[in-house]
Symmetry: C2
Subunit: 745 residues, 2 copies
């Protein structure tokens, strides 16, 4: 039943290789082509495929305009390095110390009482404007606190102009564009300014008219860049892929106040130097700012998308760069009217982050490796990277298929690696088979819906524990593994905020997951000191629900009373009674523990040790049964609570084994037994996963490992199928016929 | 110059081995003998030595009295296990669940509105007496909360009688005394009751009169046992060597209120189940209770000591068992008028804890191993234990000599191990040499005085990070190593509270040490949010002082405002500016760190990795120079601050290498250079230490390792001596003569 399929594939193309292009497009069945940074679309593009994509930069694309309007730069709030007054002498702080003056310029001409703020951090209070002086400008700008309190720490928050677009700066510096004649340092412009918006709105139709070959406008992206600040050496100093710091300006701040009636101060944005990163429990004022910018970005983007449609083209958004305020899972996103979203795929979680976006007709994942000389060089192994990326992403694509996949970079480099092209051909065929052999439906999921609960809820669906897009962070991977596992497991996954569950956990939820380190937005921090919230979750579990806690779930310390820490109900984990474990802080060393490890079926596939990643201190059991213990600290534990069940995991970096542990833990938490493991199909070997498509009565089994595996697949009612899979291989199995049916893969 | 020396040694003796005793006392030069638990003094005792010790138990010694007065038991506050109301039904809590009914009995006949307390832990508030009912008694006592708030957590605090003395219970259960006819379960009696005190006061003179052979009354101890609670299986459930839980009673609580005007509630004592363990930041009311009991215990103990003196005997206190309220470093201790303190020595720190006690004429250390069958058995190696104990204790004894040493247990067992007796002879000789060859003075210390600063200050000198006496705790050893190192380093060590330094660090202090995990009394917790305190320490360092932080020094999180965590000055380490490092909590992952490791002379003796013990999460450098990095987290860092210097250490379990690192860190922190390392003498090899006695112009060099070591000793002004030391060996070196002089060791 093998057949040549085409479509669903976007290739990056370039000039000077027309003949190869024709052959390659035919061979791979590509139906769309695109340019990349640094490549031009060849004239042959429109003849090759139905659809031609082109990047479009609404807020930095026209540097003639930018240079002609130097007062239209976008802005950012920055905080100086903290300085301690070592006495009563005036304390001078050079605000730009540590910042990259090529990127940023302090705004000394604004109302500095309003847009600058000097904080006494030892007291936590701002200084009156009369208590400090501002002198100099640019690199030399300096604030002098005339009579500091001795040995108090001070910081200066200030508004700065962004004189260089962050992404273009990164590309420029990374690719040595200073060597290329004609390259400019692109300046971003603030669309809130009327003259800018007039220009941006007018420029798009003109561009569309002059680019008739373009079928799909790939917006890269809209108006505000995520927070990306470089240091004095021109290296990354601060990065927050979700950061709104660079979405501020006098215009925006005035509008915010007018529109929302919200008082604000620079501290609301610099946040003591944490800049409201997503690990911080979001302050209501920061939430208000996000909502405010979402409304604005959606409204303006909608106009650009409408103009695109008016010209008969499609509008696609790149999920990155200037994506701030779009909030794909926010309430205004669908109103933008985009046809599609495209994003970079490096894992299952990032894949689902794109695939699950509501309100667009289709999604596209840009796969790794990017065709750049770092991988496509003598001795490089692009096949290995392709395999790794595919192995991870496939898990997510099976559960919720992207509509399209694509690549980026220099095709001329990739074609020098024929084995890589062979592998791409296989991957694309396997990808298409998921659409074609599935009958166009998503595979069956468990009847038990799982919800991740944190401070952010649905707004940050599939975005938890991310700092810079898909990069590894030591403090995050032990929790990110939960998301990565879920992205490929047969569960409907929802993202709920504490507000969503305070009055009661929604009826359709079977298991709540709370994962993260203490004091972060992901575990929740002080939210768990709310009696209503803890009672709600306890009630949910006691009436038969499931709760899975990872790391320091529900951790919160009641505020000190008269400088003396109060003990809570928990004591540190506020739902210690539900989990049956608590986090040691040194306060209960006096209590003897007699930890005994017992066997439990949720750990049947697990080795003697859990790969827990970065453990957060010690955890002891109160009422839970310990399933895995590491150096005296609980790694895995299970607890009965009323009619419900809870599982504690110290950490869960992604691996096939850990994903299987989570799978079992969720089923057990939901039901108190593991019978429902075969409610949908499951492979005996955790490295193999399987999807079931009931309409076509087919299974898709896929091997996520580099080993050849023979295993048994088990389904509802005791049905079984055996399967042999080569390394990384997959197989379609027709349940209507007794033998396995070779599929596309 | 070798000669037979005698004295300073106490031997445990027993009946039935008179001939051996005479020889052994002569051979070892013992000048005192004692009985032990389970042994009787033989009649020959008074002929053997000048001084005969006998144990004396003021508050449990007379069980006839105890049984005749069953209403005089001592009491303890206990907390039930927490229970969650899984709905609105009445919630019944069996208060004794998990407790040992042979040890404890709930007091149901007291005013239960006053001496019992039901807490809604979810709200943190107590319930009115009318909201709960008490039924049953003894094991069956149960509290029913008639209308609980659904899914709130409740606990019951209650007063319980101690029907069995904790230490006697431990000995009874451990030694199977139920098999020995005549053994009773001893009941402790409360000396606050007038009839008890009358009896106790009268019993001592009578006992002294009937025991003319006793020269030294070894009080074991006075009135209140440290907190030691057993579980339902008769095993240890809760232990706090510093715990005051068992010092309560109706009489005491009424007196407290009358004397101090302090309102109190049971929660003040049960403390959410932490029972005011020394790791908790001490609440003012708990401090008031300690002060109150100190005054009482000192006053009553003074009477017993006076009676002892009146009978012409000496009064010695055992530091343990019923020592609560004596507080050897408290303001009332000297007023008791004791002649001596004896305590068990297992390390340098415990040795200094005894040796440094002010207000007594002499101190005695009871050495390990105890002559018990667990070590003195076929295949046992008592010499190894003796060596290990001596190697650790010697470091402390050199710096501040105990006046006497001794052993405990069954001498009849020990004499079956002739090699052990040989080793004891050597150890005793080496111990005496420290008194004799030193000219009776303490060795020279550095001119730089070091102070450990924590919530307890001098009250708990040499007692930090202890839970049960000298036992190993995973959460404590990484900090206890600081104390253990200091106990044998050439520094004057002081213990200061935050109150002691708030208005300014005392003039004579060169370096402050703050060591511990976040939120504990030892690091300090919320104390560091006090602007006056942080300014005081900053000022001290900036003006040239030193600061050494270990673990999570000065860690504190400002209280949440509207459920939103505020960032402090620090940010987590409130003196992050002084230390140049901060603790990562996930809030600053967005900030790029470019950690570079540099060489620094404080780490010259250190291998590529610090043995940091249990690291507390990740630490990053802000302004500090990183000296050791472990998996991206700072292990050792140094920072200049004004004219002063700070050192950060992730943890410091005790080892010769770590002790040397601390030595160097302290000198560097004090002066910014290492010149003063040879201000007093130092050995090149960190395993060898050296003491200098100026009056006699002698060095005492001692090898703390199992290896033979040749090393160079360096002193002030470039003086040098070479020394060869056998494993564990020591040597006296006469600086007046060119060659090394063989000493006693």
């Amino acid at each position: 039943m093998s057949h040549r399929s085409t479509g669903r594939l976007t290739l990056p193309i370039e000039t000077g290789m027309d003949e190869e292009l024709v052959a390659l497009v035919e061979r791979l069945g590509a139906d769309a082509v695109r340019n990349s940074d640094g490549t031009e679309l060849p004239e042959i593009a429109t003849e090759l495929v139905d659809r031609v994509y082109s990047t479009y930069f609404p807020a930095r694309g026209d540097q003639d305009f930018a240079l002609a309007h130097p007062d239209t730069l976008t802005h950012i709030f920055l905080m100086s390095a903290p300085a301690t007054a070592l006495g009563t002498d005036p304390l001078t702080i050079r605000v730009m110390e540590g910042y990259f003056t090529d990127q940023l310029r302090p705004e000394t001409d604004v109302d500095t009482e309003r847009y600058w703020q000097v904080m006494d951090r030892t007291l936590g209070t701002p200084l009156a404007r009369s208590a400090w002086e501002l002198e100099g400008n640019g690199e030399d700008a300096r604030v002098t606190i005339t009579s500091p309190k001795p040995y108090h720490v001070y910081t200066v928050a200030f508004l700065a102009a962004q004189v260089w677009d962050s992404t273009q700066m990164y590309n420029y510096l990374t690719n040595d564009w200073h060597l290329e004649p004609g390259r400019v340092k692109e300046r971003p412009y603030e669309v809130r300014r009327p003259e800018v918006w007039e220009h941006v709105r007018a420029a798009l139709p003109a561009w569309l008219e002059s680019h008739p070959e373009v079928d799909v406008v790939r917006f890269t992206t809209f108006f505000y860049h995520f927070t990306l600040v470089f240091n004095a050496e021109g290296k990354e100093k601060f990065v927050d892929w979700f950061g709104y710091s660079a979405s501020v300006s006098v215009e925006a701040l005035e509008a915010f106040e007018a529109e929302c009636g919200e008082a604000w101060e620079p501290e609301d944005f610099v946040d003591a130097g944490y800049y409201n990163c997503p690990f911080r429990i979001p302050h209501p004022r920061f939430r208000a700012w996000i909502a405010f910018q979402q409304r604005f970005v959606a409204e303006r983007a909608r106009e650009l998308v409408a103009a695109t449609h008016e010209a008969g083209r499609e509008a696609m958004m790149f999920l990155g760069d200037n994506w701030i305020g779009t909030e794909p899972y926010g309430e205004h996103f669908a109103s933008i009217g985009l046809d599609a979203v495209v994003g970079s795929v490096g894992s299952a979680a990032t894949c689902r982050m794109i695939a699950d976006i509501p309100g667009v007709r289709y999604t596209e994942g840009r796969f790794l490796p990017y065709f750049f000389p770092d991988v496509f060089r003598a001795g490089g192994d692009p096949c290995a990277e392709a395999n790794d990326s595919w192995r991870l992403a496939r898990r997510a694509i099976v559960r919720h298929p992207l509509d399209r996949i694509g690549y980026g970079g220099y095709l001329s480099l990739a074609v020098q690696f024929p084995e890589f092209i062979d592998r791409v051909e296989q991957i694309v065929a396997e990808f298409r088979s998921l659409h074609e052999n599935s009958g166009g439906e998503r595979p069956v999921n468990s009847r038990h819906t799982v919800a991740i609960v944190n401070a952010w809820g649905s707004l940050r669906s599939w975005m938890t524990h991310m700092v810079a897009h898909a990069l590894h962070y030591k403090q995050a991977y032990s929790y990110l593994g939960v998301l990565e596992s879920l992205a490929g497991l047969p569960f409907d996954v929802r993202f709920l905020s504490f507000d969503d569950i305070r009055a009661g956990v929604p009826q359709d939820i079977s298991v709540l997951i709370n994962a993260g380190a203490a004091g972060t937005a992901f575990s929740g921090g002080p939210a768990w000191l709310d009696p209503e919230l803890v009672a709600s979750v306890r009630s949910f579990v006691a009436r038969g629900g499931g709760f899975v806690g990872v790391g320091e779930p529900t951790a919160a310390t009641p505020p000190a009373r008269d400088g003396y820490p109060q003990a809570g109900a928990g004591a540190i984990l506020q739902l210690a009674d539900v989990l049956g474990v608590d986090r040691e802080t040194g306060w209960s060393l006096s209590t003897d523990r007699y930890p005994k490890v017992c066997e439990h079926p949720i750990a049947e596939d697990l080795g003697p040790e859990l790969w827990a990643g970065e453990r957060q201190g010690d955890v002891f059991a109160t009422t839970a049964s310990i399933v895995r213990l590491h150096d005296g600290s609980v790694d895995v534990a299970v607890n009965d609570y009323g009619d419900g069940h809870a599982v504690y995991l110290a950490g869960l970096p992604y691996s096939a084994e850990n994903s299987r542990l989570l799978h079992r833990a969720l089923i057990w938490a939901a039901t108190g037994s593991l019978e429902d493991l075969t409610e949908v199909w499951i492979a005996d070997d955790p490295r193999v996963e399987v999807a079931f498509y009931p309409s076509v009565e087919r299974l898709f089994a896929y091997n996520g490992s580099e080993a050849a595996i023979s295993t048994r697949l088990r389904g509802p009612g005791g049905t079984e199928v055996s399967v042999d899979l080569a390394p990384l291989d997959s197989q379609w199995i027709d349940l209507a016929t007794p033998a396995a049916t070779p599929g596309e893969a």
